[in-house]
């Protein structure tokens, strides 16, 4: 029997402090190939701080991040070569066209056969008719699709998605979720997915991590986790966790 493949992302005792504020307090988790992990939590829980550390744009105070065994601190460029991300707060430059954006970022990720890859992604994300349109002129939903197309350019082994369907209508969001799930299945890619849409999380994620006040307080299958903790739905569980976090914060 062959040993299990190494995780595409391994996070060990990750911590980040800003002065006296401890934003992330020693979290550990992993994402396996073919797995979609939801990172959930109320605003200020430390989700974006954690994602920024994984993206290499924020240095941890302590802990280790490794992509398929490559330590981010030791070889940042090699570690990030197999990742990509899409986030609502990081739109692509609006003064470049859709195609120009994909070409520039495709070159930054050193994508082979870039022309063919761009054509395929323009088709997959229904952007072919906007090929020569400046990204800044697209609707917010179209810009989100462009960000997702950019995130798929290098066929990443780890995909970080921060509210990827936030500006998209339900029908397009369903297509995009299906597309990402299909990509994960075929490409053995792992996904770390943050969202405030619990319906989406339950539909897409194999496992969820609840982050509260910089710590992982719950972990499990989104379909069974609510009942295990006396809640009807994932939405109810989220509200309970958020209120407990607020209560804990007020008590301090």
């Amino acid at each position: 029997m062959s040993p299990p493949p190494p995780p595409v992302l391994a996070v060990e005792r990750l911590a980040k402090s800003f002065g006296t504020l401890k934003a992330v307090k020693g979290v550990s988790f992993h994402v396996s190939p073919g797995e979609i992990v939801g990172l959930l939590g109320p605003n200020g829980a430390g989700k974006t701080t954690t994602i920024n550390m994984i993206l290499g744009v924020l240095e941890p105070t302590a802990g280790r991040i490794a992509f398929q065994g490559v330590d981010l601190r030791e070889d940042r460029s090699a570690a990030l070569a197999g990742t990509n991300f899409a986030a609502v707060y990081a739109p692509l430059p609006g003064n470049l066209t859709v195609e120009q954006n994909l070409r520039v970022f495709g070159m930054i990720y050193d994508v082979e056969s870039l022309d063919e890859r761009i054509d395929a992604l323009l088709g997959a994300y229904d952007l072919a008719k906007y090929r020569r349109t400046k990204a800044g002129l697209l609707s917010s939903g179209e810009q989100t699709r462009l960000s997702l197309a950019k995130a798929m350019l290098n066929r990443p082994r780890l995909l970080l998605l921060d509210e990827p369907t936030a500006s998209i209508d339900p029908s397009a969001a369903r297509d995009i979720r299906a597309g990402i799930a299909g990509f994960v299945e075929i490409g053995h890619c792992g996904v770390l997915w943050t969202s405030h849409n619990m319906y989406e999380v339950e539909a897409v994620c194999d496992r969820v991590l609840f982050l509260s006040r910089g710590k992982i307080v719950l972990e499990g299958d989104p379909k069974t986790l609510p009942r295990e903790h006396g809640a009807e739905t994932l939405d109810d569980l989220f509200v309970t966790v958020a209120h407990e976090a607020l209560g804990e914060g007020a008590a301090r």
């Binding site: 744009v57 070159m107 930054i108």
Partner: protein
């Protein structure tokens, strides 16, 4: 260093210039205005002055050489500002791109835009006022090399300042050449400056270029030794500017500034 990633940074700027006359226009317009203004002034000075000095290569030439340094610096800063204006740092720096590849890309952009500007200024000044850079002889190459290296160093240091202080600090960057020029002796010999200004001039690579230029115009041999000092200083400036940028970038990664750049936090 990955050449494809460096080419991506250059290509991004090429796309912007190709589709935007308002970006291409400033490469030429300020140079053209300076040539007109200083060209007529030098022509007037030549007509009223009984000095043996030809003001065209001494003054107009100095203005154009200084413009060249300014264009080099702005070539670097403009390429960097494109990422500032489009809030693109997260997209750019959360990739395998190395800081050295990013800097090399924007320096290549500066080389292209400043050479374009140089060709236009030499042609226009030659046609309109008879200025020939060939008047500087073989010293022209080190003149341009020292000014080029200094312009790149100023540009990289300026980009680091904006990265550290935030987008609003852009206004600090534009006047840098103007602030440096009185100390660099662009229009007059360094000897006329007070001692404290001369001390600053001695630390500025361009001052060696302009002293050398005036020597050549006066018919003296080019001061190769001093030009070598200027060149050495310019290299030191460039290395220090790159180290400064890397230090600021690393601090921005430590305190999260890259991820929330528009917040303009100075912590």
């Amino acid at each position: 260093m990955n050449r494809t990633r460096v080419a991506a940074i250059v290509l991004r700027i090429f796309y912007l210039y190709r589709g935007s006359p308002q970006r291409v226009f400033p490469i030429f317009i300020w140079v053209a205005v300076d040539i007109l203004l200083w060209g007529f002034l030098t022509r007037y000075l030549n007509s009223v002055s009984h000095a043996a000095l030809n003001f065209v290569p001494a003054l107009l030439g100095a203005v154009l050489l200084w413009d060249f340094l300014t264009r080099v610096m702005q070539g670097v800063t403009m390429a960097f500002f494109e990422d500032v204006w489009t809030r693109n740092f997260l997209n750019i720096f959360a990739t395998p791109l190395r800081t050295s590849e990013y800097l090399t890309g924007i320096i290549l952009v500066a080389i292209a835009t400043s050479l374009l500007s140089l060709v236009v200024m030499v042609a226009f000044a030659g046609l309109a006022f008879g200025l020939s850079f060939l008047a500087y002889g073989t010293a022209l190459a080190p003149f341009l090399a020292v000014l080029f290296l200094t312009g790149i160093a100023f540009g990289v240091a300026a980009a680091a300042i904006v990265l550290r202080l935030g987008p609003a600090s852009e206004w600090l960057i534009w006047p840098i050449p103007m602030i440096v020029s009185p100390f660099a002796g662009v229009f007059y010999p360094v000897a006329v400056l007070p001692a404290w200004m001369q001390a600053i001039a001695a630390a500025l690579p361009p001052s060696y270029v302009f002293e050398g230029m005036r020597a050549v115009v006066a018919g003296e041999p080019a001061p190769w030794g001093w030009l070598a000092v200027g060149g050495g200083l310019a290299l030191v400036y460039l290395v220090l500017a790159c180290l400064f940028f890397v230090a600021v970038y690393r601090a921005a990664i430590r305190n999260g500034l890259i991820a929330r750049y528009s917040a303009e936090t100075v912590s």
